[in-house]
Amino acid sequence: MNELVFFINNVVIAGSVSGSIYAIGAVGVTLVFSIMRFAHFAHADMMTFGAFMVLLLTTLFPTAGSAVGLPTAVVMLPLAMALTAALAVGIDRSFYKPLRAHGVKPIVMVIGSLGVTLMLQGLIRLFAGTSGQSLYVDDRKEIFRLALPFEGARAPIVITEPQIILFVLTIAAVVGLHVFLTRSRLGKAMRAMSDNPDLAQASGINTNLIVAVTWVIAGGLAAIAGTLLSLDVTFKPDLSFFILLPIFAAAIVGGVGHPFGAIAGGFMVGFAETLAVFNWSVLLRPFGDSLPEWLAQSGNLAFVGTEYKIVVPFFILVAILVWRPTGIFKGKVI
């Protein structure tokens, strides 16, 4: 029974946590992909930027959260989202739009976005340094221990406050995005432009407006994802390439251009990662007597060590590119 609790703590909860973060990140990437047709490499650093804004605001107003009973970081999130969205629109105006106007190939946009990545990295590190910092400046991370009402279950299920916030925010973001894309005029126009940009223009849809809206959403979601990631562990300025690969893998698995495919892909990559680094020998322990010797003896039955976690999204990426490059839900942008 304790093994089951261990499994829930280390796989179900941990997988949902990283899955949610990847999902929110991947939605942003896939939206940018579907409107502007390039892989936006600076997305991970937009996430970092969002989290950094939260850190900055939390340091400035450390007690704002206690007024409403939430961590200050969460209270500051909407403001950080707005700032990140503004940054995203600003970056587009000053760097991507001129390239688009020149009609460059998508891959040149990719290189441009790598340049933006470096600029963001440089700026963030210039101001934030390179070491990790907690987003809990003035308040304490609540940890909930849920004891199971079973005989012999000594270990409790452990879930932290930021994890609960993360689940709530993820669900809110997904529902909000769905409503926006299927009910609102701008959301439908976004889908239309992703379907057929020329016809969208011929229908009188202002494509510049849609591009701006896309960046606002991508920036806002990036701020959420970055903040949630930093709340769960700590704020680290330099994880961009490590977060970029799972996010791209998630977007491609879900079918590029499909926001809801990206969410499914995000959870898939998140769970695949946690399952791969999970030490399965723990689950086998209760059956130790009836197992072959070599299996029972090995203390570590994880597929990959945590230091090789990044192999998992890469493996998924390669597998999907070989097996079905359009993704599970057939992508629009190929």
Binding site: F41, F241, N300
Partner: protein, 436 residues
């Protein structure tokens, strides 16, 4: 008859266009190099030139991928690290403690198991030829692969941990460094083949994503395989193929190494020049410029693309080996996307993608700027702090120097975006000849 005339008109056009721009830029570069010599001394400056030369090899590798074929490799670092590892593994002295123990046998057995496991999985994946339904075959193959993977990995883990704890690491082969460079190129080419095979038929963005990923994986592997590379403990010194500083002094040793790299670059440059003007090079450019019509003319696009990508990766592996040997230190953590991917990218796009001469110019020029920007950034930061303290009583944070260096990251990024926007063909653009 008509071809001859076209060629002649090419020659004339080239001759009349050639000198001015190239000459000005290279003279400026020469002046800059001499300036560095005057300011920083011979030993330091020669070291800088050797490193710049190594980067030029990397940049040539990237320029044929990006400039000739429009493939964007965002993981140069991984191929460089592979080259560096190979140079280390082949040139470092033999570890007697390892070879005299029973560990080589155990490691060999582990690797044999690995080979057998791969063979077994491969065999099961062909079960459908014996009439097993395809779905069932896939299921069996995956299950077998998972089980065998776990078994072999736990077996190997025991051996490698044993190696690390008893004899530190397996040591090198004690061979001349150039063997390592060649094998490094081959290793990088092999990885490039695998990545290219998966990605080159798809959107070009996917290649960028995949190379970015493989670079981090290679780095993670080299960093965490202590039994093979000593991991964070680093391996040094790496022997040079030329006489080392201990024998002939710093300046002369570095000058000898520099002449070796110069010969290497000249050879690569000559071969690339030949290939570029050969039918093969024309085909590559035809594919880059107009994929559809190249395909319509019956060119095997994906094969040509794969060739060029692998060739570029080989050059990066070789360059990484030369650079690794010169540094005389193998430190997996020293491989950074910024220094080993993006710096090379800047060299290529600034120098002129697809133009080998421009790429070499870009490599040397950008490397000098990069090296010189470090003291400059520190100086600027310190002045800023001084002013801040004097005028506002501002108390500067402690880790200022590392932050000042981060500012260079920003500059590299800005440079990339600006060059793409204002000089997309670089300072020395590729000379595209039109035969119409």
């Amino acid at each position: 008859m008509s071809t001859q005339r076209e060629q002649r008109s090419d020659l004339v056009a080239t001759r009349s266009r050639l000198p001015k721009r190239e000459l000005t830029l290279f003279v400026a570069l020469l002046v800059a190099v001499l300036g560095v010599y005057a300011a920083m001394g011979t030993a330091y400056s020669t070291r800088m030139l050797v490193e710049a030369a190594c980067y030029a090899i990397l940049a040539l590798g990237l320029t044929i991928q990006w400039g000739y074929a429009g493939q964007f490799n965002a993981g140069v670092m991984g191929f460089v690290a592979l080259g560096g590892f190979s140079a280390m593994f082949f040139s470092v002295p033999v570890n007697e403690a390892f070879w005299s123990s029973e560990l080589p046998g155990e490691l060999g057995l582990g690797l044999l198991y690995l080979a057998l496991a791969i063979l077994a999985v491969f065999a099961t994946s062909r079960l459908d030829r014996l009439g097993v339904p395809r779905k069932l075959r896939t299921l069996i193959t995956i299950a077998l692969a998972v089980v065998l993977y776990l078994v072999v990995m736990s077996e190997l883990r025991v051996v490698t941990e044993e190696i690390h704890s008893r004899v530190d690491f397996i040591g090198g082969l004690g061979l001349p460094a150039w063997t390592g460079w060649i094998v490094g190129g081959a290793l990088a080419g092999g990885i490039g083949y695998f990545i290219g095979k998966v990605c080159l038929g798809l959107r070009s963005d996917y290649l960028a994503i995949a190379t970015l990923g493989i670079a981090e994986i290679i780095k993670a592997f080299l960093k965490n395989s202590e039994w093979l590379t000593r991991g964070t403990a680093t391996v040094s010194p790496l022997p040079w193929p030329t006489p080392g500083p201990a024998e002939v002094g710093f300046t002369l040793a570095r000058a000898l190494y520099l002449s070796l790299t110069a010969v290497l670059i000249a050879a690569i440059f000559f071969l690339l020049h030949r290939a570029y003007h050969a039918p093969w090079g024309r085909m590559i450019r035809a594919i880059r410029d107009n994929e559809t019509s190249a395909a319509a003319m019956g060119k095997d696009i994906n094969r040509r693309r794969l060739e060029i990508f692998v060739l570029g990766c080989i050059l990066m592996g070789i360059g990484g080996g030369v650079l690794g040997s010169f540094n005389s230190l193998f430190d997996p953590q020293g491989y950074l996307p910024l220094n080993h991917t993006f710096l090379v990218l800047v060299m290529v796009i600034l120098g002129g993608p697809g133009n080998n001469l421009g790429t070499i110019f870009g490599a040397v020029a950008v490397y000098i700027i990069w090296i010189m920007s470090e003291p400059l950034a520190l100086f600027l930061m310190h002045s800023a702090v001084d002013i801040g303290q004097a005028m506002f009583g501002w108390d500067a944070p402690g880790n200022l120097d590392s932050r000042a260096l981060q500012a260079r990251v920003f500059v590299i990024g800005l440079l990339i975006t600006l060059v793409l926007r204002f000089a997309p063909k670089g300072l020395l653009p590729e000379k595209v000849k039109h035969h119409d």
